[in-house]
Amino acid sequence: MANKVIYAVYDDPEQLKDGARKLVSSGIKVKDVFSPFPVHGLDPIIGIKRTRLGIVSFMFGITGTALAVLGIWYFNIYDWPMNIGGKPSFHYYQNVPAFIPVTFEFTVLCAAHGMAITYLIRNKTLPGLPARNPDPRTTDDKFIMEVRTADNHGHSSEEIAGLLRQTPVTEINERQC
C-alpha cells in the first residue's frame, strides 16, 4: 500500500484546533499544520515539543557578551590604554560603566542575529530555498492540517478522512508520496 498525505483545509483556527483534538484523541498523529499566523495553544494539542530557540538565543547572547568584554579589554586596556574624559584605563573594572552600553549592544546583536539565522537554517527557509508549503492559500486565509499514513500504521487513509469529515473541515485533499 502506497503511503498517502492527507491535507485537511479549515477556515478558522479554532475549528482547526477542534479538528486536531478530535484526531489526536482517536490516536492519530498529526504531522504538521500550515497557517497564515501562529495559532496559540495548538502546539500542545498536536504534540510539538517546546522550541529550544530561547536557549540558542541565550547561548548567542552570552557569546556576544564574552566577545565584547574580551575585545574592549584588549583594545582599550591591554593594547592601547587611552585616557578618555580624565579616566585613565589601566584596569577594566575602573572603567566598566563606560563599557556597559557597547557590551549590551553587542550581546543583543549576537543574540538577535544568531537566533534569526538559526531559525531560518533549522526550518530550511533561508532566502532562495524552495518553499515547502503544500498549498499557497495557507499564506492567505486557510489553515491546513497535514496527516501522513506513514505515521499512522493501522489507520487507512479512508478511515482518517472519515474522522476528518466529522470535524468542520472545508475540503480534504489526498496526495501520494
Partner: protein
C-alpha cells in the same frame, strides 16, 4: 464570585500593624536627630513607597484600558483593589509635606524662606530656583497630582462596577469611554509622574538635579505594583478564587515583573553612567555621598533589583512556578523599598543616617499591614472577576 477576607489574613494584618507600631515607637524613642528628622524621613519613605504602588497600579490599569488589552480583563479587579490605597497614601504624603511646610522637620531644606532673602542664610543657587521651588506653587502642584490621582482611581473603579450591570451596546459604549479616559489619564501621568518625583524626592537634595530622575522613580513604582499584582493573584488562586486565571495569565504577569525590572535597571544605570562620565561637581555629589557613605545599601539595592530578576526570572518555567514567583517577587519588592530609602535618607538625614534599622523595618511592617487591610477590603467589595466586559471571553481563553 465574591472575595471574603479570611480570618487568618485579617489577624495577620493586625499582627503586622501591632508589631509595626511597637517597633516604630521603639525606633522613635531611639531617634535623637534634630526635630525627629530621621522619623519624618522614614515616614516619607514608606508613605511614598506604598503610595507609589497605588500609582503604579493606576498607571498599569489605564494602560490596559488605553491599549484595550484583553488578557488582563480577568485580573482587573486586583489592580482596582491596589488603587484603593491611593486616598490613604495621599493622606500620609500630605501629612509629611505639610509638616515640612510648617517647619516641623527639615527634610525639604528649600522650604526655609531665609534662603531666598539677602542675609546670612542667602543661597544664590536656591534663589535661582525660586520660580519653581516655592511653597505656594509646590502646594498647587502637590494638590493637583493628588486630586487627579484620587479622582481618576475613583472614576475608573466606578465605571468598572457600572459595566457589571450593562450589556450590549451600552456596555461597549462605556468600555470605549474608559478606553479614551485611560489614554487621557496617561497624558497627565506622563507629566505628573516626573514632576512629583522632582517635587517630593529630588527636591530633598535641592542643589542637585537629574533629568532622568522622574522616570527612574516611576519605573520603581511600576515594578512594585506589578509584583503586588502577581502576588495577590497567586494568593487568591491558592485560596481557590479566580479559577479561570490560568498559567498563561501568571506567565504574562511574571513577564511584566521581569521586563519592568530592566526598565528600572536601564534608567538607573543611564542616570548613573552619564553623571559618572561627565564628572561635574554639582551633579556628582549625589552619587559621591551614596557611594562613599552607604556603599552597602547602594550596591545591594542595585544587585537585588537587577541581577535577581535577570538570573532567576529569565526562564519560562520560573515565571509559571507560583512559589518561586512569590519568593523572587518578595525579594525585589524589598529591593525597591531599599531603593526609595537610598534616594531619601542620605539627603534628608545626612550624617545621622547609619543604615536601615528598627524604625524603618517597623514603619514598613506597619504600612504593609495597613496596605493589606485596605486592599483586601476593597477587593471584597465587588465581584472578583468582572461580570460583563467586551473582552472577558477572550481573557478567559488566554493562551500563550
Amino acid at each position: 464570585m465574591n472575595f471574603t477576607i479570611s480570618k487568618r489574613a485579617s489577624t495577620l494584618s493586625m499582627i503586622l500593624i501591632g508589631v509595626g507600631v511597637l517597633a516604630t515607637v521603639a525606633g522613635v524613642l531611639g531617634d535623637h536627630s534634630d526635630h525627629h528628622q530621621r522619623t519624618w524621613s522614614a515616614l516619607l519613605v514608606n508613605g511614598f513607597f506604598f503610595f507609589g504602588i497605588g500609582l503604579g497600579a493606576l498607571f498599569f490599569y489605564s494602560l490596559q484600558n488605553a491599549t484595550e488589552t484583553a488578557w488582563s480583563v480577568l485580573v482587573k479587579r486586583v489592580y482596582e483593589a491596589v488603587m484603593g490605597w491611593i486616598p490613604v497614601g495621599a493622606i500620609v504624603m500630605v501629612v509629611v509635606l505639610a509638616a515640612g511646610s510648617m517647619g516641623l522637620h527639615h527634610v525639604y531644606h528649600w522650604m526655609d524662606a531665609s534662603l531666598y532673602v539677602e542675609g546670612p542664610n542667602y543661597d544664590p543657587i536656591m534663589a535661582g530656583k525660586k520660580a519653581f521651588l516655592n511653597q505656594p506653587f509646590f502646594w498647587v502642584r502637590t494638590l493637583a497630582y493628588i486630586g487627579t490621582f484620587v479622582f481618576a482611581a475613583r472614576w475608573f473603579r466606578k465605571k468598572s462596577l457600572e459595566m457589571d450591570g450593562l450589556t450590549g451596546e451600552s456596555l461597549v459604549r462605556t468600555h470605549l469611554l474608559t478606553y479614551r479616559r485611560g489614554a487621557l489619564f496617561l497624558v497627565f501621568f506622563a507629566v505628573f509622574s516626573s514632576t512629583l518625583a522632582w517635587d517630593w524626592l529630588m527636591s530633598i537634595d535641592a542643589h542637585w538635579f537629574s533629568t532622568l530622575f522622574g522616570w527612574y522613580v516611576f519605573s520603581g513604582m511600576w515594578v512594585s505594583a506589578m509584583i503586588t499584582g502577581v502576588v495577590m493573584v497567586l494568593y487568591l488562586k491558592r485560596k481557590g478564587y479566580l479559577p479561570q486565571v490560568n498559567n498563561s495569565h501568571i506567565h504574562d504577569m511574571g513577564k511584566w515583573v521581569f521586563a519592568v525590572s530592566f526598565l528600572w535597571t536601564y534608567l538607573y544605570f543611564s542616570q548613573f553612567m552619564l553623571i559618572w562620565y561627565s564628572n561635574i561637581p554639582e551633579e556628582v555629589t549625589y552619587f559621591q555621598q551614596r557611594i562613599n557613605e552607604h556603599p552597602g545599601l547602594m550596591w545591594t539595592t542595585f544587585f537585588i533589583n537587577f541581577a535577581v530578576p535577570m538570573v532567576l526570572l529569565m526562564s519560562r518555567d520560573a515565571k509559571r512556578n507560583p512559589r518561586f514567583l512569590i519568593g523572587v517577587g518578595t525579594v525585589i519588592f524589598i529591593g525597591h523599598w531599599m531603593d526609595i530609602n537610598m534616594i531619601v535618607m542620605p539627603g534628608a538625614v545626612g550624617h545621622h543616617f547609619h543604615g536601615l534599622g528598627l524604625l524603618d523595618a517597623g514603619l514598613f511592617v506597619l504600612f504593609l499591614g495597613a496596605f493589606i487591610r485596605v486592599v483586601l477590603g476593597t477587593l471584597a467589595k465587588a465581584p472578583l472577576t468582572p461580570v460583563n466586559h467586551p473582552y472577558l471571553e477572550e481573557s478567559v481563553h488566554h493562551s500563550i
